[in-house]
Every structure is written in structure tokens, then in C-alpha cells.
Subunit: 284 residues, 6 copies
């Protein structure tokens, strides 16, 4: 008679089969070097999503008009990075195999590697658009090659030159920036040049990875490594709407660390970014 | 293929039909006069319950050996007290009609009235055992007769004299204590006399209501009106185990206000109290 | 010899009779559906107002040059919405009868209804200017017609079409926006069009209601339902100075929930908004 | 018609002339070496006192039956220690001259010196009972002779040997303990020996100074220098009731630093200690 | 002329060569499954240690009379558990080779394994005394064999039966307790039986590992997995003083997670536990 | 063999002799009238500086390419303002005598006076550029002439008219602004006119004092007296880079109060401001 307690992100309560997009949490932060806590992001976002509406006055669209399934959180192994990434890769593949768009909620940024591994197999010509404060282009970090600080370098290992486009970058060591010049497109500080990149990527499969610390810490203090001088919510929203014109085959939103922001604002911002992203993605 | 995200209190993932006990949340705190926030208790307890084990070394029992269903949270109307109480009463009745033991997670203490209304109809000889820091025996509070501060007085309206047994009481106004002397059994500060009460109530239907502020604020700071001089966790555990010898036909645990305790300790304590309570209740 | 401890908002220590403006707190948040706490706003603002100056470098005016009385907080009934609104209405009437401008400190936004009831009786041609993130135009919310989410709809019940002017709106459900198109003026996201509205309302009695969540959550995190993409403090200040050119017969500032912002910034911002508002209002 | 907003500690709203006891705040913490914040104690206690009752079930007495006046807070000079102490001394003298019992709310413990200076002039045979975690017997601290860490040594300068009785002490440097052996009575860790001291001081004028950090940090985390291994609330209450048998001519309660305890428990505990102290003091 | 800024735990500023005890931090928490944050413990303890005294009134000893060197924190690899353990093992060996007693500050409890590996090589007859809320006896945790929840099982792999003595245990799954019965000595809830164990271990090399969550969460809320019903500070202090009668060849103090306790009490408690431990250990 | 634990601001680990710039902490906040806590700034900045990089993408420079020595914190006397200022003056002189640029980390703004005293003796033609929300031009504050609210007035006592240039000012009492008109250059709210001032000061010795509350509280909530309507991080960065064209002979960064911002963002912002300042200063 009574049903078990189901908890989904607001407006994402469709069945798997009927859905076009699948969201899921990847609560992993074992390689975080400064301040951990992103493991709590997806649960916090589900709970606090009921503080926002399903309707977007920006896009005049409603989550109730689209079909999103919330698969809950993966149970990832803490302290065993490679196993966690494999787990994410396999789950992402399952979604792709069912012809749906995976939209992962991190966790630290390294989780992107698990998802990209699956997506790149399906779409060999995959391009990456990265919104982020950090380059994440180190070859290793304190000796580790699998780290939140190396994730985009590892993605480059898979995809090669001219496939990665970074925006909002304002932190990294000098060698990262120097290496990046020859291998990826990097726009520092803001979204300048996004239009041209979009023009170039028209028709190609695109993976959009949003490290929420691209936002200014005033807007989004709840993250492990806040970097002053970031973009505003409206800047990010505008950029998402632009990128959504492309063929987004997978995406993720990561690096919310809710416990560093007792006001709940960061989680609310993350929820709204996810709502707008889900509404903006074009599915068939 | 994939299932929707289900969230229950740890070890309480049985189907309704197979269960002996049904837990549910009553997230209501509209009459709270000092500091609101108990509406967040049940959600917080479900989330943080995964920080405790299903096994109790105190009772040498495991939640996996008993059958508990978690019905989620009622959607209660904020600002309309009577409607919220009716909603709780009806839900409780549904559980009783299915021959199961309802175990409600508050919310402010007033939610107990909704539940007791349903239980008292089923069990006219109902007795109440109340663990609490406050008498809750006012006839009205700032003119309101339905209030967290009047709830046990309203329960007395239903049950009459010699049915209510209070322990741990250490706050109230003088008139409450005076009125109480003629109508209820009150043991101040601790659990002295509990044994005799249990002896007396053997075989009778008993409703156990645990206002968690009976605990000392050092153990349980996350509550709206903390009262110094309370009982320890081991005292409360011992008292619960004793009361569980009786015929508990319904129970509740209330007044956790998680946001006043950023350490998470209060929520963890509440989870453990609930685990021990569920394991201790005798069902057939 | 010694006097009792008097606490007022900074610079608002005039006697009632000598005052042109009367501020008072309406600490009510019983219908808040997401996160309560606005009941603590007025007390927090009085205490922290001593962290700001009485002098405004924006207006080159000083609170010591005008006459404001601080009537303290109403003792409102928690859990009984209609009674609380009546209490507010009666207190507001008392101020209007003494020919002073009432300036209420919420509390949740619903308190505005109590005040508008009194003001609309005195000024039948009353117009409302609302600065807010939310439309508040629902006809009911979870079955309740008196709610923070329905307050402006209830105000419309009193005043009718073409009397309500909303600015900064960025959240609501689709039906609210649709209904609003036919009955109120709504400017989304910012203060565009405010100048024209002011032109139109010249000479008419105006009630200004400021839901502080119109501010961006970066500026004002201490509120129950933070909505990314809001206006800056300077935007709001500018808008207040413009509106103050009109015939403001009453006003309110609401939805500060101080406990969600441990930094105290939100309370400090609210204090400054109130100071600027008091200095800007034209009295005779 | 309307009166200015008056704020007093709960149940302490009598006029000065009619009162037997006068409470006042001394919000000073400029010499605090580790973590400041006690300046906020008295304001916080007034505000949160409405979360407790005026009635004590421990003493079966009510604040409404006694006559206490709340004189508000002194405006003390930050950074000028001697001036602040003089201010306190003068205010205390004013109360003594009116034949009332001064009960000061600190502030850091150094404020006791200001008050004792006034009281010792009136009562040359003054004795001190000190409940504290720290000896406070240094002769200077980082070169300063007026410091929270030297306060009882300065009191000794005024009163001499065999006048000071310390209980609950569990922190200090070795030399303090050694010096103390020859000059004051010190009972480490708890209240052992209090009975004998009380016997000895019968009939003599006694100043009771309660540094709330005598309480265990579990009970009272909101203090600048928490010291594990303290007494329980019930221990402290018992000790206060015992001391109140003596001729208490003045007293103080200090070292609450509310901002270190977001749960509000420490402030609630301090309020209850003050209530019990006010009810226990014998006045004529 | 001027020297670089040196930061040590209070009173532990001796040179390595002159020291008998070496403290160092092992800031690692990558396998923490519930709430991470112990990586911040050692830094927080160094900073806040200046809030306590070097002198212990419990032991009448002073840190200034003994010789302790503070080696700072190891730079451990996040996300690579085996590498981190090896790093700890090597550093511990370096200390042992210099004939000093290593005293490690965790980090999650798993760091104990690294240290024990080095110590067990030096002392094949090593015995372990463990103060802890959790058994930590799982064979694997979510598939991982190296985990905070398996650490004592891994220690048993090294040492075998009848070498491990647990006290204060009050959480674990059923199978852990059952396995433990045959392989380790477990005293649940408190320190009963400690005296007999000490009698038994006289003269043998002993490693003392203190998981601070053995303390009641009221005393020590700043830990990842708080477990109600723990021991008091005085209980723990007493137990440490008893164990210190033995031949302690190495020790550690772990699982402080300072960011869960904004009051700073947990860090202060941890500092005092470390001070008492350092003063109690017998060195030659 | 092993070295003592050294803690410096990131990338500032040079020896004194080899350095061009010397940073040091002045942890003093005894005259703070509203909310103390800046004493914790320098320690917090050292600890959290490891969350930022040594490389600046804004200036394309790296802290590793310049030579900065971190002298740790002065041990200042709490409660004795004059003594603390003298201590700061003497330490600053020591740095100047060694021909290095002192860069002090406050502490409340009053610490600037100590440093300016030393610098002004060395450079009689000293000019001050002040970035601040507050004028700090009072002649006395609550009777005290040495106060955070009088510091720039005291600096004026030393330097006289036409030497002080304020930017970002948005708070003060009316008389401060009026006095200021005749004696200092004040630009309200932002950095307008900075270019002309820089033109004017070319070649002259300049002391740059940055009160971080010049930043908007959204960017920098962790300060005692947050003032809405401040500048952005990018505005401040730009202004620092401009001023660095001048002959900066000394500087300071003050008024971070880390405990008011649990997110850590304010400390991270302060660290980045310091990094950019150190990289921008021209040394020979």
C-alpha cells in the first residue's frame, strides 16, 4: 500500500526507460589535497533542490516538461582511486548504451575522468569544454598521476591536442600554463572567446564539465579551493546556454563541498546551475 | 533497468507489508516559540544514519533481523496546525489498521498529539510514558491551545488522570508543576521511579514519547530549547530498554533540530536512540 | 536613579510623540516552507546596528537629524497565522492614526499582508512597489491561502489590477508568471523600468515592500530561500533612493534570517538598507 | 502612548528603587590572550533568557517573586584597561551605596577586579569564593599586571592571605600553584572541601565570582579557554546553593563567549546559572 | 639575524638529538568513508596548543622538564593509501633507529598501521593497547583491505592472537565482534579490566593507540563518526596514566577532525590528552 | 638530522639576509570596538596559503622568483595599546635598517600606526595610500586616542596635510568626512582618481595600507565591521598593480578576522591579495 521513500532531484522523478537524461552522483574526494567534502554534494543537492522551482524564468522552460531520471549515488571506494574511476566509467557506459545523456554530479573533479573514458569510447571525436578556476593540467601531483589536479591532463592523454577548451581559468602553476599553450585552448579569467569555440565545435560531440569553482567565491564559497576573481552566476548561466547549442553528449557538475557553506547558498546555486543545464541540453 | 533513488533510515528498507514497525517523519515546527528547525530532523537522520551500524552491542541485536518500513516524510501544512495534526492522525491510523507499530520522527513535540489521537481511538486504555525536559502541561501558550508547550495537556484532555507518566522534567512554569501534581505522574530531573511505573503498566497499551531534550545539552545540543542538567545517553538507553518490556503500541522521537549542531553529534545521537528503540520494541 | 535597559535600532531613540517614522519588528515565520528563522531578524538588527554609523555618505544625511521611534517587537502567535496578521494590522493602524509612517521589520514576507490591510483602509488608492526574488503570486501553497508564497496575491485581492509593481523577480512557478501578466507589473531580474513606474505613481500613496532576497545571495546569504542572480547592494540602494521620491505612506523590510549567515554580513546589510530607507523617506 | 523598547534579562524588569539585586553587563575582553569574545555575553544572555523559564524547579522559587533590576551594559573603553576597571568600580559603588547587591555579567574575568575594588572598600573583611578552571594567580602576564590571568592575584593584593577560596581549578603554570599554596585556599578539579569553607565563612561578607569555564567544556563550550575535566551543571548548581547560605554581598558570572558555541547551549547554561544564583542569594 | 618562523606543539621545541620523544603529524584521511577532515588535526593542535599550559596539575609535571621534538607533518599522498603507509613506516623507523619514542598525531586511524609496521619489526613481541569506540576489525570495507575500519585487523595480521587489547568499544558490525572474540581482547563501553591487562603486559613492549572517538561525543564532538555513550576525559586520563606504567615504545593519538567542532573544544581536549600522554610516558 | 617544523606563508621561505621583503604578523585587536578576532589573521593566512599557488596568472610572476622572508608573529601585549605599538615600531625599524621592505599582516588597523612611526622616521616625506571602507579619522573614539577608528588621524598627526590618500571609503561619522575635506584626499566608494594620485606621487616614498574591508562583504565577509557596497577583488587587484608602480617603502594588509567566515574564503582572498602585493612591489 505504502511505497518506500524515494528521493530525487526536484522534477527528476521519471522512470529510467522514459528518460532522455540520467543524473547520478559520484561522491568521491579521496585525492583532494586541500579540503575534502565534495562527497556530500549530490545528497545535499537532492535535499535542497526543493528550495528552488522546477520552472526557469531564464529559459521559460520547466523540468516537468522534460524527462530526467535520477539514479542516485554510486557507492565508490574511498582510498582506491582506480577502482572508483572504473565504477564511474561502467555506470556511464550503461547510460550511453541506453542512448541517454549522462549528467554526473561530483565529487572532486577527478570523477570526470571516469565518465570521459566511457564517453570517448562511444564518441572518438569527443571535444571537452571545461569551465573551471584551475587548469588541472599537472602531469602528476605529489607523485600521483590520478588526482583532481591532473584530471584534464589525463583527459588529454585520451583525446590529444586541440580537443580541450578551458574558460575561467585563474589558478595553476607556471608549468601548467606553459604546457597548456601547446596542447589545449585556455581562456583565462572569463568566457571571452567562447562564441568562436562554439562556432568551431558545431556538430561535434561535446562533453561539458563544469567545475563550480569557476564561479566567484562570493557566489559559491562552498568549495575546497576557492579562487577569488571568478565569474558571476549570470556569466556562467549565459555560457551554459551558449554551449547548449552544441551537441552535448555528456556533462558533469562538480566540486560543491556543502559543509564549507553553512548558509546553504552554494548548494542552492549548484541546484540552479544543474536545473538550467538540464533544461538547456538538447535531446532528441 | 535502473531503479529510482530510495532513501531510508539505515536497515529499514523492508516493504510495508512485511514490516512490523513503520517509521515516518512529521516535519512540522510551526508552533515552536523559541528556535524552529525540527522540520529538518527526519531527513537529517536518514542521511546520517549511515554513519552508525545496524548492529547494537548493547542489545546484541541487528536491524537486519527485524522488519521496519520507512514511509518517508508526511507533507505537512506549515502555519495550519489543526490540518497538520489531522494529517498525522490519519497516517498513524493507516499504520495501526495494518496492525503495525507506528514510530514517528518529529518535528516539534506537538506532533505527538496527532499520533496519540489515532492510537487512543484504537486503544482506549492508552497510557503515556514521556521522557522530556519540559512538562508541556500549559493549558494555552500565548493564547494558543495547540502548541509544543501544551501538547501533553491536550493528550490529557483525551486520556484523563493517571494515564501520563513523565520523567526527566526540569523546566516549566510554576502553575504547570502545580496542576500536574493532581493529574499526571511527574518525576523531576531523572528516571527515578521508572521501575515502579513499569510494574504498574504491565500488560497495558503504552505510547512512548521521547522528547530528545530530556538528554543533557552536552550530549544533545541540537534542539530548540536546551535545558542544562539532563540525563546521559546511557541513562536514556537504560530507560528505553526498561520501558520496552511493556506493550508499546506506538512511539515517537522528537525535537531534534539538526541545524543548531554543526558537529552532527545530535543527529548521530538521535539515530542511535531510534536504532535502540526499534530493536527494543517487542512485536509479534 | 538608574533607568531600565532600552534597546533601539541605532539612532532611532526618539519618543513616539516626536517621531515621524515608527519602526517595529514582526517576528513571525510560521508559514515558511523551506527554512524558518526570520523571526530573529529584528532583534539581530537592533543588536548589530551599532556596527554601522548613523551617517550615510550616500545621502549625506544622519539618523540623528530625523525622528524615528523604535516600538520594539510585536509578540505574535506562532502557528496561528490569522491572529498574527490581525495583530500586525492593529499595530499598524495605531501608527497611521498618529499620522506617522510605519516601517515594519519582518519576519517572513507574509507579514506584509497584515500591514497592507491597515494601510489600504487609510489609503484606498494604495499602490505597491515590491522588490523581491519571488513573485509570491500563488493562489494557495500546499492548500494554504495565507502563506509567504501567496502574500502578494492576497494583497492583490485587496487592491486589484494595476496596483502592484514587482522588480528583481527571478523565481516562481510557471502559472504565477502567467497569472501575473494580466494582473501585476513584473520586471524580471533587475530594476529596469523603475523610472517609468515612478513617473506613473507620482503623487499616489505608495507602500514599499522590500524582500531582501532580491539581493544576490553573495551579498545577502542570510535568508530562507536564496536565489542566485540577484541585484547588488548598490542597485538596491539606487532603487530605494528613486522610489523615495514618491509618497511613501508605509514600508517594510523582510526575510532576513540571521542564523543562516554566521559572518553577520547579512544582518549588517539589512541594517544599512534600513538606515538608507529611513533617511530617504520624505515625511512632513 | 507607545513606550520605547526595553530589554532585560527575563523576570528582571523591576525598577531600580524597588530592587534588592542589580544585574549589569561589563562587556570587556581586551586583555584576553587566546580567544576574545566575552564582550558579547551580556547581550546574548538577555536575548536568549526568554528560552528559559522564570521558575526554578530546583529551588521551587520564581524570579517574579524577587526584585531584580537590570541596568543594561556599561560602555567600557576597549584597549584601556585601567579606565574600564575604574568605570566598573564606580558603577558597583553606586549600587552598594543604594544598599543593593551587585551582580555583574562579564566580560573576561579581569572585570571582577573593578567590582571587588568597590566592594572591598565597603566591606574591609571581604572574602572571595572563586569557581574557576584557572588559578588566575600570575603576578604578570606577558608583562602586564592587569590581565585575565592575574585577576585573582590583584584581588589578593587588596585582601591579603586567607581571604580567597578557589574551587574547580585545573589549569595554571607551576609557579602559580606554588605561590598559591602559601596565600590562598585552592581545591583542584572539583568542590571538595566547600562545606568546610562555608562553615568557616559563616557571617562574613562574601564575594562570589563564577568563571563559567569551571564547567566542563561539554556543558559549556562557549568560552575562550576551554579546559577538559570540569564540573557538571548539577555540581555547580549544588555548590551555588551551598554558598548562597553565606552573606553574599556581591557576585559575578563571567567568561561566556557566545560566538564559540553556535548551538546556543552555553548561553542557555549561563542564563540558568544566573537565574539560580539570583534566586539563591539571600537579601533582606 | 632573524630566524624563520618555527611552529611546534607547546613545550615541544627541543632539538631532535636531545629529545626522548618525537611527535609528528600524519595528515591522511583518504579512506574515511563517512566524514573526512582528520588531515587538519595536527596543524590545528599545534596552533591551539598555546591555549593550554605546559604544566599538568594532574601529574605535577611540566613539558618543559622533558625533551620532546616536533617533526612537523609528513607530506602524505592523498588517494594512494599504500604509499602513504610506507611513508609513515619509514619515518617511524627513523625515529626508532635514533632510539626515541615515536608519538604520531593522525589522521584517520589507518595511519596506525604504518607506524605499527615499523615498530613491530623492531619489537617482535609487540602488544597493542587500543582505546577506541570502534572495533576496526573488519577484514575489508567496501572491498578495500586498507581502511580506517580494518586497521586493527591488519595489525592483527602482523601480530597474531592475544596481542591486541581493546577498551571503550561500542560500535562495529556483528561479525567483527564475533571474530574478535577468538582473536583479541575486547572490553566494551569502558576501561573495565584494564588493570588486569596491565598486570599481564608488564615488561613487554607496548604500542598505545588512542582513537579519540573513545571519548563521549559531548566531550569530543570533532570527529568523523561520533558514537554516543563514550568515556569521560577523566576516565581516559586515568587510563592513560595506568598504561603509562608499561613499557610504551610508541604511541599515537588520532581521529580529531577539527572542522566539525567550531567551538575548538575538541582540539583543546586533544591537546590536553597529548600533553598528559607525553608527560606520562616513561623514557630513559 | 631532522629539523624543527617551520611554517611560512607559501613561497616565503627565504633566509632573512637574502630577502628583499619581510612579512610578519601583528596579531593585535584590543581596541576593536565591535567584533574582535583579527589577531588570528596571520596564523590563518600561513596555514591556508597552501591552498593557493605561488604563481600569479595576473602578473605572470612567481613567489619563487622573488625573495621574501617570513618573520612569524610578534608577541604583542593584549590590553596595553601603547606597548604593542612600540613593539611593532621597533620590529619595523629593524627591517628598514636591513634595507628591506616591511610588509605587516594585521591585526586591527591600528597596527599601521606602529609601522608608520618607524617608516616616517626613515622617510620624512612619506605619503600614505589607504584602501579602506572606513575613514578612521576620528580624533578619539569613546575617549581613546589610540583606536582602530582613529589610526589614520594619528598618522596625520605625524605626516600632516596632503600626505594621505584614501580610496573606497564608505563609512564614518559626518564630522570625520568634514574634517577630512581639509586635511586628506578622500575618494568615496571606489578607486576613481587613483591614476591622478599615482601621477602626483611618482618618485616619493609611499606606504600602502590595505584594510581588507575595502572589499565588498560578499567577497570578504571575514572582518569585524563589514560594509556593504565595496569594491570587487578585481578592482582591488587592479588598484594594487597601479600603486605598485610607485616607490613602495612599506605596506600592510589588515582586518582579516578569519573566524567570522567558516567557509575560509576570506582567508583565501587575503592570501591572494598578499601574493599579488608581494609580486607587484618593486625592490632593487
Amino acid at each position: 500500500m505504502l511505497n518506500k521513500n524515494i528521493e530525487t532531484f526536484i522534477g527528476c522523478d521519471n522512470e529510467f526507460e522514459q528518460s532522455d537524461i540520467v543524473i547520478f552522483g559520484a561522491p568521491f574526494d579521496s585525492t583532494t589535497s586541500f579540503r575534502p567534502g565534495t562527497r556530500f554534494a549530490s545528497k545535499a543537492m537532492r535535499g535542497d533542490s526543493f528550495g528552488i522551482e522546477t520552472y526557469s524564468p531564464y529559459q521559460d522552460k520547466d523540468l516537468e516538461d522534460i524527462a530526467v531520471f535520477d539514479g542516485g549515488d554510486l557507492e565508490l571506494s574511498f582510498g582506491n582511486t582506480e577502482k572508483a574511476l572504473t565504477h564511474i566509467e561502467e555506470f556511464t557506459k550503461q547510460i550511453l548504451d541506453a542512448d541517454k545523456v549522462p549528467c554526473m554530479i561530483g565529487g572532486e573533479h577527478l570523477v570526470t575522468l571516469g565518465s570521459v573514458r566511457a564517453v570517448a569510447k562511444q564518441y572518438p571525436d569527443l571535444h571537452i569544454i571545461q569551465f573551471d578556476a584551475h587548469t588541472d593540467l599537472r602531469d602528476d601531483y605529489l607523485g600521483e598521476t590520478l588526482s583532481h589536479a591532473t584530471v584534464i591532463r589525463r583527459v588529454w592523454d585520451l583525446l590529444g591536442d586541440e580537443k580541450i577548451f578551458q574558460f575561467g581559468i585563474r589558478s595553476g602553476d607556471r608549468s601548467e600554463f606553459q604546457w597548456g599553450k601547446d596542447h589545449v585552448f585556455t581562456n583565462k579569467f572569463n568566457f571571452d572567446g567562447l562564441e568562436q569555440v562554439i562556432e568551431k565545435l558545431k556538430g561535434k560531440p561535446v562533453y561539458l564539465t563544469i567545475d563550480l569553482d569557476v564561479l566567484d567565491p562570493s557566489v559559491f564559497p562552498g568549495t575546497g579551493t576557492p579562487e577569488a576573481g571568478g565569474v558571476s552566476f549570470m556569466d556562467l548561466l549565459q555560457a551554459i546556454l551558449q554551449v547548449a547549442e552544441l551537441n552535448i553528449v555528456a556533462c558533469d557538475v562538480n566540486e560543491l563541498s556543502p559543509m564549507y557553506d553553512h548558509s546553504g547558498v552554494s548548494t542552492a546555486v549548484a541546484c540552479k546551475v544543474l536545473r538550467e543545464l538540464l533544461l538547456a541540453i538538447k535531446t532528441n
